[in-house]
């Protein structure tokens, strides 16, 4: 692994002691998945060693050797959550192809390299007294869930994952409906989560409604909700569970720098002195559900 043109040794970023790397990571796997998803696994031990669930990578979509010529599209990097860390050596992202950047990345091949910066942002806070994590994921919010689950399970936390999508075929993983009346995702079970999959088209409800149904059962000391997915879902999750349980949400916002410098990716947070703007890339992407000023979130 080489660091491109920058210093070859990563240095402490800023003054908060976090380590951020920029490197050209060799691609170990590049696989088309169902529903327009794509898996990229790169060798990046420096990142794997320090990454926390909920953190993300800032990815240059083009061939790293072309960094000296300006592109027309995908001029900016693209943020993707760390989806898994393999033995601390390899890092996986799970991307839904939405636009030009995703399309480019899905065309990258084993043997090529990915120019990436990471790990970035603050991930999920895992408190010492956490006993049960209710992980609620909608759509491409599934991406960080495997890494989050593995980490929680390794810390002895029970993981109850409620995963929602419009339909069974909107998921990167095959939906298993072998057990009557219950749908699950085996890859998520394999990493230790108790999974309930909720397809709006099949179950006739949203994942936030599934959460509501099980809220009482799951509430209690040491329980917390961790939610990833579209803003509308996150807002609903906070509304539903925010009174009974602590809720952490992972937000998305358009980024430029990815490191907290340019103030592109701010979200409104209610602080002591009213609403302040916090960056998704550095202060987030994970925030306490209660601190977000949802009505000012825009779009």
């Amino acid at each position: 692994m080489t660091t491109r043109e920058g210093p070859s040794q990563p240095t402490a970023e800023g003054t908060d002691g976090r380590l951020v790397h920029r490197l050209e990571a060799p691609i170990l796997e590049s696989a088309r998945l169902p529903a327009g998803y794509h898996r990229l696994v790169v060798r990046a031990p420096a990142i794997g060693a320090v990454a926390q669930p909920g953190q993300f990578l800032h990815v240059w979509c083009h061939d790293p050797t072309t960094i000296g010529t300006p592109p027309a599209a995908a001029v900016l990097r693209r943020p993707y959550s760390i989806s898994r860390v393999w033995s601390g050596e390899a890092v996986e992202i799970l991307l839904q192809v939405r636009g030009v950047g995703g399309r480019m990345l899905s065309g990258r091949r084993v043997g090529e390299s990915l120019d990436l910066i990471g790990p970035l942002g603050k991930g999920f806070r895992i408190h010492d007294d956490l006993r049960t994590a209710v992980v609620v994921a909608g759509g491409s919010g599934i991406a960080p869930v495997p890494f989050l689950t593995e980490t929680l399970v390794a810390r002895g936390v029970r993981v109850v994952a409620l995963v929602g999508a419009a339909d069974d075929d909107r998921m990167p993983f095959p939906v298993d409906r072998a057990e009557p009346g219950r749908a699950t995702l085996l890859p998520l079970e394999a990493v230790g989560a108790e999974v309930t999959f909720v397809a709006e088209a099949v179950e006739g409800k949203l994942v936030s409604e599934a959460l509501e149904e099980r809220l009482e059962e799951l509430s209690g000391p040491g329980a917390e909700v961790m939610a990833t997915g579209p803003v509308a879902m996150l807002r609903q999750v906070v509304k539903t569970a925010g009174e009974s349980l602590p809720v952490q949400v992972s937000l998305e916002e358009r980024m430029a720098c990815g490191v907290g410098a340019c103030r592109s990716c701010v979200v409104p947070v209610t602080g002591a002195e009213g609403i302040v703007y916090r960056t998704v890339c550095r202060d987030g992407p994970v925030f306490a559900g209660g601190e977000i000023a949802w009505e000012r979130l825009g779009r």
Partner: protein, 315 residues
């Protein structure tokens, strides 16, 4: 990459008023905040100067979120809206970290009135910043900003107000969204600016055709990146011929060849902006390329290149 780092390499130093920069490659304002966030991603201390995010007298929240930036062909449009911690927090909390890079740090200031600018400059006068850039060209604020920069008289008013507030070299940052940028450059120079920098962004808009709303929460923003480079090079060329003060050129620089276009057209120094979002080490890459070019062309100093363009006969 040739003679980079050798003691006997070409002389890359640049004079901006009383300030000597070790080389001509700067980081543009607003790109990397107050300098600390990018730390470790490249050797920023190697560059000629770091221009910090524009600050105002009081902290400002900036434009509402979602979205503040959007990508466009070979460029991006931003509408951050001068979110900043205020000049006092800059001096107390941010400056020591920026100065620790070991290269020149330039503060950038803005305000709603000439007095606001002067107040910022006065506070900065007591600090180790190497120079002050007067941002009269931000397209993303309603009052101040570009409202000054589009008018020669108003621009001069700001520079005249700031001039007595500090002994630091003053750089007036110009907007390209004007009919006659040379008139504004001349007015700023006459009012006491030691240098001018250009271009700030071209005002722009991106529409989401599905929602039929602007993508930017502020509706409009400023276009930067490679897309604007040829327009920025021309304005640099024009201004360099209009004023004797040194010119700092920027707008879409992506590589050394781009930077050399500005220098040959008349810029004494250049700044990298948008490219740093893609390549945090772009400034170092540009610097190495400029050095390599000088060596290859057997030029002893950068000065020989500045404004060395030979015009075509024309018709």
């Amino acid at each position: 990459m040739g003679a980079s780092g050798t003691v006997s390499g070409p002389d890359l130093s640049v004079q901006i008023g009383s300030l000597t920069l070790k080389n001509p490659v700067m980081v543009a304002s607003g790109i990397f905040g107050y300098g600390d966030e990018f730390r470790g991603l490249a050797d920023y201390g190697e560059l000629g100067a770091l221009v910090l995010k524009t600050v105002t007298r009081e902290p400002r929240p900036g434009n509402p979120p979602a979205s503040r930036t959007v990508e466009t062909p070979a460029g991006m449009v931003n509408a951050i809206g001068l979110e900043n911690v205020g000049v006092e927090a800059l001096v107390e909390e941010k400056l020591p970290l920026a100065l620790s890079y070991g290269t020149a740090v330039i503060a950038s200031i803005a305000g709603d009135t000439p007095e606001d600018f002067a107040a910022c400059a006065e506070i900065l006068d007591d600090t180790p910043v190497s120079a002050i850039e007067i941002n009269i060209s931000c397209p993303n604020v309603r009052k101040g900003g570009m409202a000054f920069g589009v008018d020669a008289w108003a621009s001069a008013q700001v520079v005249r107000a700031v001039r007595p507030a500090t002994r630091k070299p003053l750089i007036a940052k110009l907007t390209p969204n004007v009919t006659d940028i040379c008139a504004i450059a001349r007015a700023c120079a006459a009012a006491g600016a030691d240098a001018v920098s250009l271009v700030n962004t071209f005002s722009a808009m991106v529409v989401d055709v599905e929602t039929r709303r602007p993508v930017l929460a502020a509706n409009t923003g400023g276009l930067s990146g490679p897309a604007i480079r040829p327009a920025a090079v021309l304005r640099t060329f024009q201004v360099a011929r209009a004023v004797s003060a040194p010119v700092i050129g920027m707008g879409g620089i992506w590589n050394a060849s781009d930077a050399l276009e500005f220098i040959i057209a008349g810029a004494s120094a250049v700044a990298v902006g948008t490219v740093l979002f893609a390549d945090p080490a772009a400034g170092n890459r540009v610097l190495a390329g400029i050095r390599e070019y000088l060596v290859r062309h057997r030029l002893d100093s950068l000065q020989e290149l500045v404004g060395s363009i030979t015009l075509r006969d024309g018709d």
